[in-house]
Symmetry: C2
Subunit: 192 residues, 2 copies
């Protein structure tokens, strides 16, 4: 998606260690117009899957998941990293390593909002190692739901997440695909 790729080139900063800073339009400040366009594009690419729910992980997945869900006209559930007091005692919980936090985090979904037979579209900001998305897949499977597609705003191919998730046999769509980062240079796979 040209608009996202151009924005990454303009404002993204490679911090080393595989970390791309996109805090000015995705991860701290959010450009709602860009997010809406990304949601529209995800909805277009996934429109034939019959998704009944969008699933993401707090925090940075919420914006693109919300706009995707808006255009697909289905609810979005964001997995919590801490169990709020409003959640029942019995929950779906999985552990996942957080690349940017340097530790293991919990992902928690209430059985109230993820049911057997649902068709789940997973949307997140990054597809890197695929660890967070695999955690979301495990939560969906624990609920007896079917994952029908996976979408990420930005994929870093060199971290191998797409290969890790390929066993699912579902469409994986990324709106910007980064093949390498080096110094000030960010290299994209064309046609994403």
């Amino acid at each position: 998606m040209r608009e996202l790729q151009d924005r990454i080139l303009k404002e993204g900063k490679y911090l080393g260690g595989g970390i791309l800073k996109v805090d000015s339009f995705i991860n701290h400040q959010v450009d709602p117009v860009l997010m809406n366009h990304c949601g529209l594009e995800f909805a277009r690419r996934f429109k034939d899957l019959g998704a009944t729910k969008v699933l993401t992980a707090e925090i940075s997945g919420i914006a693109p998941a919300l706009t995707t869900a808006l255009h697909l006209q289905v609810p979005v559930v964001y997995a919590r990293k801490q169990k709020p007091i409003t959640m029942p005692d019995q929950v779906y919980l999985t552990l996942t390593p957080s690349h940017t936090k340097g530790r293991t985090v919990e992902l928690i979904v209430s059985p109230e909002y993820l049911a057997g037979g649902e068709k789940v579209l997973i949307i997140d900001d990054f597809l890197a190692t695929g660890a967070t998305i695999q955690g979301l897949v495990r939560l969906a499977q624990a609920a007896g739901a079917n994952v029908v597609g996976i979408g990420a705003l930005i994929e870093k191919t060199f971290e191998g997440g797409r290969g890790v998730l390929s066993y699912l046999g579902v469409p994986i769509e990324s709106l910007a695909i980064i093949t390498a980062m080096e110094g000030d240079q960010i290299y994209f796979q064309e046609g994403a």
Copy 2:
């Protein structure tokens, strides 16, 4: 706002202790169509303030803040509760008590995205004691920005937040105003 009030009556659950559970459409599962309508309504009410930025707190403020920012066509910044590795060492940080977490949490904003002279519209899911919103006000003031308005999806008048924030002299708008909760009953102030 009738649509939000009706949804609270239909799906909201009073858990006691002043806690209203709205996890099926705001705080865990989100109805994106409803959130979009709420954002449109905030944008309508605040359209003459000249806001240059929407400010909220992760996590539950993100959805209504994003849709409001979309309709106002300005960026949204969500204050982080943990400093990510992409953030500079020098930040604006304030402490605020969390009612639902039972402890003090940090609210952190990078100076990169909140500048002196900006006109800040604060949007959050709840206006209860006003503590979180006061934390956001302190962050804006630390940056030399001006708070021009405050919006909440749901206000609980009996926790007094509106009075606490009145010294700011800015418009405070809530889309559903709850005056009391008792057993299965939720009482609204009409005309919100």
